[in-house]
Amino acid sequence: MIWTKKDLLGLEYLTKEEIELILDTAESFKEVSTREIKKVPALRGKTAVNLFYEPSTRTRVSFEVAAKRLSADVINIATETSSVRKGETLIDTGKNIQALKADIIIMRHNCSGAANMLARALDISVVNAGDGWHEHPTQALLDIFTLKEKLGKIKGLNVAIVGDIAHSRVARSNIWGLTKLGAEVILCAPEMLLPVGIELTGACISTNIDEVLEKVDAVNVLRMQFERDEGAAFPEQLDYFKKYGITEQRLSKAKKDIVVMHPGPINRGIEMSSAVADGVNSVILEQVTNGIAVRMAVLFLVSQAKDAGR
């Protein structure tokens, strides 16, 4: 299996084998972060640019750490202080970064499809760090990586994704990735947070969290994206917590070793209780650690493909 894509835009566009290649590559990179000198020369002399149009700490820093552990130079562009404020178009910004001879643009954008558009317009690699409600491929990859690490496999697992599916790029990427690898995905949310036709992805749907929790091996709890859809209908927060919030009481009926994930940042007391977030089943901080290995793998693979002219 050889990686041939210059970009990573979403898991919908990848084959099962390509996803497995990223996971395998991540596994070999994970060890780097445990060394005394946490660095390999794989991307020495390469420049990665973090271009973030939406506020993000976790993902941006994770990419920065990943790139630095591969010895790449990293530049962070905060769009609030750049020419973007002066009305420069996304493609112009991208072409300027390309003209600086950067090798990889890591982009977070509030518009769905922005990474696809940029990747089409540029010769250099584009890694999607989240675009609108569309995809957040590295988040899903690190979720899947963590799950595989915990449970030893993906095929045949039952995985619930709970919460704001409608506005979630994390959900979409997870659905594509998990179903391609042979897991059963169950989406659990109030109807107003389930987007039209989502079952056509191959995922099942339920509105009953207690029934779902009883049968799944893992639950990925989404953040309520209040900030992402002004004026849309959201369930009342306390009511949502009562009906869908993950609590110790609810988990008491689940499998004992159920894996509880959250892409962060958590709204404690809305999506899950603090006790669950900090509890024995929670792998939330391991997800953060694994994010570095997965992003190292992605940066390495797209860079290799670019160099090989594939």
């Binding site: 499809g113 696809n116 558009m117 987007p195 039209v196």
Partner: protein, 424 residues
């Protein structure tokens, strides 16, 4: 000057003609349509194996002048029309300023008199500034030469105001063209609401936002007794509603555009903003209903909804890009491929929908070959295959979703008012 078009297949549904005939043009008029015409002094065009039809009448065109000459002008838009075999366009009134007063219409007519390569008819607005608040002086617009009224791009939210508009339009003898969209339902949507909008993470536009307004506008037209023309029908429910209204005798006509039978939402695979149109590309089921509506006569007209936008307005994030695509130059070829070649329509039925029917709906004496009538004629090599290339687009804007597509049916000559305005 005389032109003799020899030996083509003349398709003239207004005279129920479909036969190999010659056409003699003298000056700006048709002199004769007959077998073996002899006219030694005329310029002869060999049209053997070609289709000869009345020039296309495109009832839905945005020429953008005045105000957005960077997108299109009367000169560039009519040159694109000529290339596409279109000899009459109805210019939509959402210019800057909008065609909401006698003064603005006179100003545009001045430009048309100087710059237009083909016939340009002017559509006035229903409301001042297309704001849906206060009616335009509809009688004055008619006197100034407006042939129809529309707030295209917007739909009037107030039922009372829309009813009053129909009443005044009826008195003035003007056709009302309705853009049917309930913005409370379509909201911030950018593509059809469905699996594809979910997959791409884009806000959706429901069929409901269109057909509920189609239903309302038909009911209000019926109540007032006015004629109504529904623009750019895209979904199956709209076709059903219009079919029922026609059956009960409402004076309703409608159009669809080539993209609504040639493309579906599934073609927006990689956020191609040239596929972003309003109403949006719908599903396979909707396309089937549009084709059925064309076949059974519920849909009267095919119009381009030619909507030019600059690359600056299209080569950006999908959600931020303008709605609309150009279509004057590709409409006929797409219609041949999608309707004739798939046996949805026979040639005379297609010609009826792009020429005779729009002429009758607008009440103009065109779309038919009659001795002494206007010599608006197209000669088409229906079998000629070619690729739609960006660099060959005549329109100022290049926002076509069909760039790179192999199509069939090349316009060889466009003759308007007895003059050859385009030759391939």
């Amino acid at each position: 000057m005389s032109i003799l078009i020899k030996g083509g297949r003349v398709i003239d549904p207004g005279n129920k003609t479909d036969a190999v005939l010659d056409i003699l043009i003298e000056g700006s008029k048709i002199a004769k349509v007959a077998k073996d015409i002899q006219a030694p002094s005329a310029t002869e065009i060999d049209a053997r194996n070609k289709i000869i039809a009345p020039g296309i009448i495109d009832i839905h065109v945005h020429l953008r002048q005045p105000g957005r000459e960077d997108k299109e002008t009367v000169a560039s838009g009519t040159a694109a029309a000529a290339k596409g075999g279109v000899t009459t366009v109805l210019a939509m009134p959402n210019t800057q300023p909008a065609m909401d007063s006698v003064e603005h219409i006179k100003f545009l007519q001045g430009i048309i008199a100087n710059d237009a390569l083909v016939n340009v008819l002017v559509c006035g607005t229903i409301t001042r500034g297309r704001l849906g608040q206060e009616l335009s002086d509809i009688v004055a617009l008619k006197k100034a030469g407006a042939i129809a009224i529309s707030d295209d791009g917007n739909s009037i939210a107030s039922d009372n105001l829309m009813l009053e508009a129909f009443k005044q339009a009826k008195q003035a003898g003007l056709l009302t063209i309705c853009h049917c969209e309930d913005k409370k339902l379509s909201g911030q949507g950018v593509i059809n609401l469905g699996f594809n909008s979910t997959r791409l993470g884009l806000r959706g536009i429901s069929n409901e936002s269109e057909y509920k307004r189609v239903n309302r506008d038909i009911e209000l037209a019926e109540q007032s007794g006015a004629a109504v023309h529904i623009a750019h029908v895209s979904c199956r429910e709209s076709v059903e509603i219009i079919a029922k209204a026609k059956k009960r005798g409402v004076k309703v006509t409608c159009e669809t555009a080539p993209h609504y039978f040639a493309l579906t939402e599934e073609d927006i695979i990689d956020y191609d903003t040239n596929m972003k149109v309003n109403p949006p590309l719908r599903t396979k089921e909707d396309v089937a209903a549009i084709k059925a509506g064309l076949k059974n006569g519920v849909i009267d007209v095919i119009a381009s909804d030619h909507a030019p936008h600059t690359e600056n307005e299209k080569d950006i994030e999908f959600e931020r890009a303008e709605f609309g695509k150009i279509g004057l130059e590709s409409g006929l070829a797409i219609s041949i491929m999608e309707l004739i070649d798939t046996n949805v329509l026979a040639w005379p039925e297609l010609v009826r929908k792009i020429s005779l029917n729009p002429a009758e709906i607008l009440g103009i004496n065109k779309g038919i070959f009659s001795a002494g009538g206007d010599a608006d004629v197209i000669i088409v090599d229906a079998a000629k295959e070619f690729v739609l290339e960006k660099k060959k687009i005549v329109s100022k804007s290049k926002n076509s979703p069909f760039i790179g597509k192999k199509v069939k049916g090349l316009v060889e000559y466009t003759i308007y008012n007895g003059k050859i305005v385009y030759k391939s």
